[in-house]
Every structure is written in C-alpha cells, then in structure tokens.
Amino acid sequence: MSTNPGVWVAAILTVFVYSYLYKENLFYQLTEHLYVGVAAGYTVVIAYTNLQSSVWQPLTAKGDYLVLVPSLLGLMLFAPFISSSLRWVKRLPIAVIIGIGTALTLRATVIAQFTAQLKATIIPLTSIDSVIIVLGTLATLSYFFFTFRQNAALRVSSEIGKWVIMVTFGAAFGNGIMGRISLLIARIQLVFQEWIPLIK
C-alpha cells in the first residue's frame, strides 16, 4: 500500500464519496461538506490573489486610484449582509457585469457564430458529404422556425431537420458517455493503483 499520506487522504475521501452509491450515509455527508468548505476557501484565496494583482498593485505601485471605483462596486455585493434594506445595492455591480458580458458576447457572436458559420456552409456541392452538410444545416435551421405557420415545404424540411438533430444528440450522447468513463478511470487509478496497488 502507498506510504504517501496525501494518497491515503485522497483515496479514503474518494471511497467515502462513492459509498453514496450503496446508500446515503454520514461519511458521504461529511465528505460532501468538506469539499464545499475547501472549494469555497480555495476560491477566496484565489480572489485574494486576483485583488492583490488587479487592485493593490496598480494602487500602490502606479497610484491608480480609479481601481477603487470597481472595488467599491465589488464591495456592494456584500450589502445584503449589512442590512436587508440594502438588498437593491447589490444590483449595481451585477448590472455592470451583465452589461460588459452581454456586450462582449453580442459583438463577438455576430462574427464567430453567425457570419463565419454561414460562410462555412456556402460550399460547392461536389460530393455527397457536402450536400448532406449544406442541406442538413438548412434543415436544422428550418426546424427552429416556431413563430409562424410553416408551409408544406418548410414542414418537410423541419422534419428532416429533426432527424439531423437526432444524429447530433446521438453524437453528444456517445461523447458524454466516453467522457464520464475517462473520469471514472482516473478515480480507479487513484484508488487501485496509487493507494492499493492492484494495478501495476
């Protein structure tokens, strides 16, 4: 068996987590709460690191007092902890983040996910595969026309689109299973290779 205390801790905690598969128990509950606590603590440490870099460094090294504005906005997130009547104050920093995130996503989506993809669909129909790609894409798009009554041609196209979407979901399903198996293999390697050397 391993002589590394870290491996023992990791493996035993892993076994406690999987004890849930038999029946929910106190060991699983304690491990679950430990994970939540450690994860939250780790996130605080990283937040501290970020603020050292983004706020403290510019403030002290460059005298950039403007960083105090977003810092104040960030502190407003904790206003509800002071008083429930200050709950509305939390909306201000959230509004700023939403505004930034929405604008960034909007301006980039138009090109990356709309025009670039439309451009990539306009290909010469020189092979069966290219015909399937073009017609399949158009059929899938036609499936999502929900706001008006579809004529006969659109109904046929929409039906073909459904079949294409099923292939896409099948691919997602297959990949999902593959991904989960990989993750479980890694846990098995921890318990049965690093801890109890059943696997060489």
């Binding site: 801790v9 990791a10 892993t14 999987y18 509950q29 679950e32 709460h33 606590g37 450690v38 939250a40 603590g41 780790y42 605080v44 440490v45 501290y48 970020n50 403007l66 977003p70 997130l77 902890f81 920093p93 959230i94 509004a95 700023v96 939403i98 505004g99 930034i100 929405t102 604008a103 960034l104 909007l106 301006r107 989506t109 138009v110 996910q113 709309f114 993809q117 439309l118 669909t121 595969d129 790609i133 017609l135 399949g136 899938t140 999502f144 079949w163 294409v164 099923m166 292939v167 979901f169 099948g170 691919a171 399903f173 297959g174 299973i177 593959m178 989960r180 993750l183 479980l184 846990r187």
Partner: protein, 207 residues
Amino acid sequence: MKRELPVFLTAITGLILLADYYFNIPALKPYASAMQNWGVIIAAFTLALAAANLIKIHTLRVSRGGRIGTVLPSLVLLTGLFVTIFSGIFLGRSSPSFSFIFNNMYTPLAAAFYAMTAFHLASASYRAFRARSAQAAVLLITGVLLMLGRAPIGETIWSRFPKIADWIMGVGNLAGSRGIMISIAVGVIGVSMRVLTGIDRAHLGAE
C-alpha cells in the same frame, strides 16, 4: 431609482463596449479597456460571495445546535473553509499545507463527484434510453457507433468503425451542430439587445 439606475448602468457599459468595437473611436478605447478591467475586479469579489453565504448559513446552524448529524457536517465545512483560507493567504499558495489541501482534498473530491455521473449515466443508459421511436433509435445507434469508433476495441472488431465515427462527427453532427449554433447565435443577439435596452430585467432579481 433602485431599478432604473442598474438598467442605466447595464446600458451604458454595454454601449461603450459595442461602440468601441464597431466604430473604432480612439477617445473611447481607454474607457472600454477600463470597463473590462473593472469587470475583472468586480468578478473577483463575486468569488468571495459564495464563501460569505456559506459562513453565514453554517455558523447559524452550528450556533442553533441540535442533532449531531446536523451540526457536525456544518462544523466540517467551516473547518475546511477556514483552514484553506488560512493556509492559502497567511502561509502562502506555495506552502506545503495549501498544496496538500489542493492536491489531496480539493482536486480528488472535485474529480470524484464529477466522475460519479458515470454511474448515474450507466443506470440511466440501462433504465431510460429505450428506442421508443425511430428518431430515438437513430440517436441510440449514432451514440453506439460513435463509442465503437472511438474505442480501440471497435477498430479491432471492424476496421471501418473509426471511419463511420469520423463521418458521424464530421458530417452528420457537423450539420446539426452548425444549425443549432446559428440558431443560438440569433437567440443570443435577440436576448442581448433586450438586456442592453432594459426590456429584459431578470438579472436584477425580484422587486
């Protein structure tokens, strides 16, 4: 004011970033950059929000007392939280204790919880994934062919399985994914305009 000011802030920050991108106004560039860096700083504060909420809830639970099964998990959570914060901030991120917590508690537990979905997927595949219709059958067959094509054993059974898997991903899935991606892009553009113009205010929470 309590709802109008946040809507105004959303609109103005969004407008600055959109104008900077589409109109290339030199005078606007420093404001757009500053806005993005402000977003990073505010986001850093949100990281601590979860911890603050957890401390509030679980400290209350411990102080109220009660059954050991209720109090002990909260004590464990708070201990884990404070020990991690102490070792990371006061002892340093490269300290042996912080590295130990990250390598032997945080990472394995995160991986264990996510990997548990493999078991749930196994039981779901067994109990729920029935080919009740032709389209469901297409979904299942596609998934099965992909799994056979991507596993080395599939290649050993029949050398054409990988080519079938490549075709499914590169043609069938491509057509559907691209159609879905373009549809989502149209939706994103619509919802983004609604949020930036204040029509959609769900992000501000209830009155």
